[in-house]
Symmetry: C2
Subunit: 437 residues, 2 copies
């Protein structure tokens, strides 16, 4: 059989003009254009490619594209076998290049680009094995899986042996859990009703639609103006009734003191969690907020830059919900490390999704987490937002408030060729037409 070799890395700037309709608007990001720095790993085997993307919200996407190109020299020329046999080494080579690491390290533009490439490598691996990614991973032995992880900087909280133990413990349950996922799916929640830019009547309509579709968790954006937040929270609580869960998301708008004060007001609507109450970098701030507002839980992670920050959020009892992001972290390898850390600390993983492509990634991640790491659905829900799925060859499917099991080979992130061409920035027809106006 031919050895699969990576012969080229293509990076494209793909943007969707979502700011036209306030989809995705929040207190910190009022006008996002959901975007992808889209990476294709070409190979010597006809028809076999690895696709990955990192999600951004518009301007700045070009920097992630540039960074993927800067990383290409570390990838092109490698064989798939070589990568897979030392996936931790491959990951370290990208995350810790002796010169490039200075402009991170393991954070921001360079780490977002690393995620796109690393996820593309996993997609390539899964496609070459003709399995959906989650299935490829849950079929790996504990030893093989652990050998793909870089434990640097987390051994004080997660020794390699402990990670192995967690994975070994799950082995006898995997088949049953897999069957359970196929039968019932993984619980999801929706943010589609709660964007900050939506008028009140649209919020009511979307709540009713959500209930009819089977949703039990509803999240709304807060943080721009307390009076407005109280009004909108009242509307949603009224619509969803006392038993369904209501979550708030402040998107980092508050300082620590303000977060505590505002949550004392918002507590009257019985929120399940407050998400991103302050800076994503403020571990001790999150811990102070968590102590002050218990039993309301603190959730964060969509902008948590790497496993070192998640480790500390867990060590400091700062979060009750661990919201890993599939491309803010440096791709699947680091996501797995954080899922294992969360399991070690007994904190449920509730992945961040939405944007473009995040639901497609998360669909695989929740299956892996349930089947071979957490083994629990208690207090676990994965975000789902209904936008932009039409651009993917194998979009994630949610039914009755649950993510269904993906069956197509790969990591699910391959976009349709027509979408890539139409939305390429700045020269695709959608953007060229705007520039001409």
């Amino acid at each position: 059989m031919t050895q699969v070799r990576i012969t080229g890395l293509e990076a494209r700037d793909i943007r969707f003009p979502t700011s036209d309709h306030a989809d995705g608007s929040d207190a910190m990001h009022p006008d996002p254009d959901y975007s992808a720095a889209y990476v294709v790993l070409r190979t010597n085997v006809e028809g076999l490619e690895g696709h990955g993307l990192t999600f951004t919200i518009g301007r700045g996407n070009e920097l992630c594209v540039d960074a993927a190109r800067s990383l290409a020299r570390l990838v092109v020329g490698r064989t798939l076998d070589g990568i897979v046999q030392d996936f931790a080494g491959f990951w370290r080579a990208l995350a810790s290049d002796s010169q490039l690491r200075w402009v991170g390290p393991e954070k921001g533009v360079i780490h977002l680009a690393t995620a796109a490439i690393v996820n593309a490598a996993w997609d390539l691996y899964a496609k070459s094995e003709r399995k959906p990614l989650w299935k490829l991973v849950v079929d790996m032995s504990p030893e093989q899986l652990v050998s793909s992880l870089d434990f640097r900087y987390v051994t004080d909280a997660l020794p390699r042996e402990d990670a192995l133990d967690i994975l070994r413990d799950s082995r006898s349950q995997r088949a049953a859990r897999e069957a359970q996922m196929r039968a019932q799916g993984y619980p999801a929640y929706t943010t589609s009703a709660g964007w900050l830019g939506y008028p009140d009547d649209k919020i009511r309509t979307l709540c009713r639609k959500g209930i009819a579709e089977g949703w039990n968790h509803f999240k709304i954006k807060v943080g721009a103006d307390l009076a407005d937040d109280l009004r909108r929270a009242a509307i949603v609580r009224e619509e969803i009734g006392p038993r369904r869960k209501l979550m708030f998301d402040a998107n980092q708008r508050w300082d620590v003191g303000a977060a505590i004060e505002n949550m004392k007001e918002l507590a009257r609507f019985d929120p399940w969690w407050i998400e991103e109450p302050t800076s994503p970098d403020d571990v001790l701030g999150h811990a102070a907020i968590a102590r002050a507002i218990a039993p309301i839980g603190v959730a964060t992670g969509e902008q948590c830059q790497n496993r070192v920050m998640f480790k500390q959020l867990l060590q400091a009892d700062a979060i009750k919900f661990c919201q890993i992001d599939s491309c803010r972290l440096g791709g699947l390898n680091e996501v797995l490390t954080v899922m294992l850390l969360a399991r070690r600390f007994g904190v449920p993983v509730c992945p961040h999704a939405g944007g473009v492509g995040l639901c497609e990634y998360v669909n695989h991640l929740v299956m892996i987490d349930y089947i071979c790491i957490s083994g629990s659905l208690e207090n676990r829900v994965a975000e789902f937002v209904s936008h932009l799925h039409e651009h993917f060859e194998n979009p994630s499917v949610v039914r009755n408030g649950h993510y269904t099991v993906p069956e197509a080979p790969g990591y699910g992130i391959t976009m349709k060729r027509a979408s890539l061409e139409e939305f390429e920035h700045p020269d695709g027809p959608v953007w060229a037409a705007r520039a001409a106006r």
Copy 2:
């Protein structure tokens, strides 16, 4: 008088092939090519420009250049008066652009580029006032200075009023402290002797040379191999005698447990501090190391991404020395905030320098810190490395182990035109000749 308006932003990729001689080599960065993403703000006034740079170590510099160009639309067209009258607002506009912040926020490539631009704006301001930057700042009223700072995310540790109090307290002392700085300078230390790639005899020679030049603090790189570290530490301690200070710098090579174990061995050479013992992101890890190795101090900061991380290092008693970096933080505004935070917690600021241009920046920062913030020289030394100063129009000058007071207008970072042309990457003569080989 003509209003000064920014008419253009030029960003250039300048690199020096320092990896040829192992200058600057350490356990994590064995082959740095000291580089600058160099920004020039052009104005409508003939001969008046603002210059700033961010320092990197080679590959990845192009990403900071790209990011500076992505930020240009937030800068070009503004008047200098408009910037200066709301410097905090200008800073926030760059650091928190509604779309660009996603690829940070306030960290990595985008924040490094922000620093180059913000520092160029201060350079422009100081040149327009015909003052060296440090003098411009120490002549500002406490109210004016505080109005230029963004307190977002640090109000729990440094309320604006406390910052004002610190600055007001210093007012009566400023003239005397300024005279003292002119008379004796600010204490510095050297890292020139301790790069990891240097052979033992070169280390001995450089120690003797350093002592002859009046240095009292010597820092060496550790972390690649404990036996090697012990041998080199013994050489340096033997050369410098028991009374001069010896510092170690591990450049993030250790996990928390390894840092504690290795420092127990290295403690026999009576180190003053251990710098970057582990990940720059690991606040709680630094705190654990600090508790375990006291009274040896923990120092970090050259890769500490922003004021939120420094706030936590201070809150957690994780550092005994605060090593701000003049372009890792988002330019002078954020550096000032961190200096005020350090003063609030009683921790001395010992700036990181070296690279290319960092000593030139730091020369101004230490004057500001002493004259209007800390008012103390106790346990304070600023790094000095003797490379690459010849490329600057007004290089920092160290005499008898002390930084002297800069007198030329501006922030001191303007490079000679001939150097910019010679070392531009990849088309300047130095790099073109290498590519041709």
